[in-house]
Subunit: 321 residues, 2 copies
C-alpha cells in the first residue's frame, strides 16, 4: 500500500484475512436472461453473501486489520445501509463493540438489522452535519475506530476479494460491470481484475440521477453530487479522493443508466435468475438492457439483495404505470 | 418397479439418466430465517433448477426412458404449469416434438415459455373435458406419448432425484417438508428419503383451500378436490391412485396451511434467503411459520421460482391489506 492507496497485494491479504467469515458466493447464469440482455452474462452473486451484500467483505477486512490494542475500543460508522450491518457483524465476530450513527428517520428494518448483529444504534438528526458531529463525539467518547463505508484502504481491498474469488470460478469476461456509488466496490474490483484478468474492460455503471462518478471520470476532476435522485439507494454516495484516484488509474469507463432501466433490469434478474437483488445491484444489468456491451461476454457483480419489501408494491406499481 | 409403482431403484436409475441435463442445485440456509421460523432449516433450491422448477427432473426421466421407436413421434401433455415447459425442454434435448395442450385463456407468459423451449402449443376451450379431448385427439393424430405431470412412474422417480442429490449435500434432517398437489414430488421424495435418510419424518404440506391430499391421507380413501381455492397454483391438482398408494406407504403426515401464511412465508424467503420462489414453494415454509416442527432440524424442498410478475403488485397489495 502506497500513500493510503491499496494494491493487488492488499486484496490478496484481505482474502486470507476474511476467509471463513464470508461465503464463497455462486456464479450464476441463465440462457434466457442472456438472450434478453443480448450478451453472454455471468453473475457473481454477492446478494447471497453474508448480510446480503459484498459489504461484508470490506467491513471484515477493516475490522480484522486493526491491531488488538486499537480494536478493543470498538468500531464506528455513520451509514444506514449495508455497510452498517456488515460492520456490526464484523465487530461481533471479533468480539468488540460496533457503534452505528443513524438518522432518526432511518427505516426500522435497518436499525433492526444492525441490532440483530449486535451493533449499537446512536440516533441523530437527519442531516449530514448532525451525522458527522455525532460520529465525532462518539469516537471522542469511546475511542472507537471509524470505518468509512468506502473511503478506507482496507474496505476497498476487502471489496476486491469478490472479484478475486470470481476469477477462480469462471473464465475471463470481455467486460466486467460493477455499480458505482462511493467507488469502494469499483476500485477494489479493478485492483483484482487488473491482476487476474488483464484485457478485461472494467466498467462502472451509475444511475443518471446520481452521476457524479461519470462526470468526475470524464472531466478528470472530482465532482460532488448534489441531491442524488435515484431508486438505487446504495449508490447515492460520492467518490472520495482515494476512490477517484484508484478509478482513474484502473477503470476503463463509467456509464450511466436511466431509472426505468434499473427497475426493468431488477425484475428481469428476479424472474430469470430467480435471485432477489436490490435496485443498486440492477444498475449494471440496466446498462446491458440499454444495449451496452452487446454480444460480449460479460461479468456482473450483483452487489446486494436487501430490499425494503414494505415499499415494493409501490415500486412495482410505479413500474407498471 | 412393481405394478406401476416406482421404488428407490427407479430413483437411482432416474438420476443416472438425467445427469448432465439438470443443475445440481444449491442447499442454502439463513441464520435469520431459521430464527424467524423457529427451526434449523435447510433449503434445497429447486427454484434454481432448469426451467425454474423440480419438474425438469421428472419430465427428463420420462422422455429419456422411452425407447427410440416410441419417442420418435414425440411427447404430449395437458398442463399449463412448470411441467409443460419442462416437457418441452426435455423433448427438445432428445430431438423430438412436444405437444402441449393449453386452455385458450392460459397466460401469455406460459405459452411463451413452452414455445421458447421449442414446444408446440395446442389451444383448447378452458374446460377439463375439452383439455382431455384435445389431448386424446392429438395422441391419436400424432402417435405422441402422453406424459402426465405426476401420474407417471418415471415422472415420480425423476422428482425423487432432488432429494437423492440433497442427501449427498447436507446432513439428515429430523423432518423433510415438501409441497403436495398431485403428489408427484411428495411420493418421489419419500422414495429417496426412506432409503437415504431412515428416521427422517417425510411430511407433505398442502394449502387449506386445496386439501384433498390431507383428507385422503386421514381417511385412507382417495378424496377428490372440488374447486381448489389457493394462490399456490402449482398445488391445485388432486392425488392419483398411484401417488396416493406411494404416499400411504412412505409418507408420515400431511398438514395444511392458511393462505396468509403462504404469502408471508414467500416474502420471508425472498427477504432472507434472497431467492425468488413461487407461492407453491412457500407452502412448506408456511407450515414452519405456523409453528410446525418447532426447534427441529428441517429440510425443505423449494419446488419452483416461476412467478407471474404482472400479478405480483396485486398479490403484495393483498398481503398488505
Amino acid at each position: 500500500m502506497k500513500e493510503g492507496l491499496p494494491d493487488y497485494d492488499d486484496v490478496l491479504e484481505a482474502a486470507a484475512r476474511i476467509q471463513g467469515h464470508v461465503h464463497r458466493t455462486a456464479v450464476m447464469q441463465s440462457t434466457e436472461l442472456s438472450r434478453r440482455l443480448g450478451a453472454d452474462v455471468h453473475f457473481k452473486c454477492e446478494n447471497l453473501q453474508k448480510v446480503g451484500a459484498f459489504k461484508a467483505r470490506g467491513a471484515l477486512n477493516a475490522v480484522y486489520a486493526l491491531d488488538d490494542a486499537h480494536v478493543r475500543a470498538g468500531v464506528a460508522t455513520h451509514s444506514s445501509g449495508n455497510h452498517a450491518a456488515a460492520l456490526a457483524r464484523a465487530a461481533s465476530l471479533r468480539g468488540v463493540p460496533a457503534y452505528i450513527v443513524m438518522p432518526s428517520n432511518a427505516p426500522a428494518v435497518k436499525k433492526e438489522a444492525v441490532i440483530g448483529y449486535g451493533g449499537q444504534v446512536i440516533e441523530c438528526e437527519p442531516t449530514l452535519a448532525a451525522r458527522e458531529a455525532a460520529a465525532a463525539a462518539l469516537v471522542e467518547r469511546t475511542g472507537a475506530s471509524l470505518v468509512h463505508p468506502y473511503d478506507d484502504p482496507w474496505v476497498i481491498a476487502g471489496q476486491g476479494t469478490a472479484t478475486l474469488e470470481y476469477s477462480e470460478q469462471a473464465s475471463r469476461p470481455d467486460v466486467l460491470l460493477v455499480p458505482v456509488g462511493g467507488g469502494g466496490l469499483l476500485s477494489g474490483t479493478a485492483l483484482a481484475a487488473r491482476a487476474r484478468w488483464p484485457g478485461t474492460r472494467v466498467v462502472g455503471v451509475e444511475p443518471l440521477g446520481a452521476d457524479d462518478a461519470a462526470r468526475s471520470f470524464r472531466s478528470g476532476l472530482l465532482q460532488t453530487g448534489d441531491a442524488p435522485a435515484t431508486i438505487a439507494d446504495g449508490l447515492r454516495g460520492a467518490l472520495s479522493q482515494r476512490t477517484f484516484a484508484l478509478i482513474r488509474a484502473h477503470v476503463d469507463d463509467i456509464v450511466t443508466v436511466r431509472e426505468d432501466s434499473i427497475m426493468a433490469a431488477m425484475l428481469l434478474v428476479w424472474r430469470f435468475l430467480k435471485v432477489v437483488i436490490e435496485p443498486s445491484a440492477a444498475v449494471p444489468v440496466a446498462a446491458l438492457l440499454e444495449g451496452y456491451a452487446a454480444s460480449a461476454s460479460v461479468g456482473v457483480v450483483l452487489s446486494g439483495g436487501n430490499i425494503d419489501f414494505t415499499v415494493l408494491p409501490a415500486l412495482l406499481a410505479g413500474r407498471q404505470g
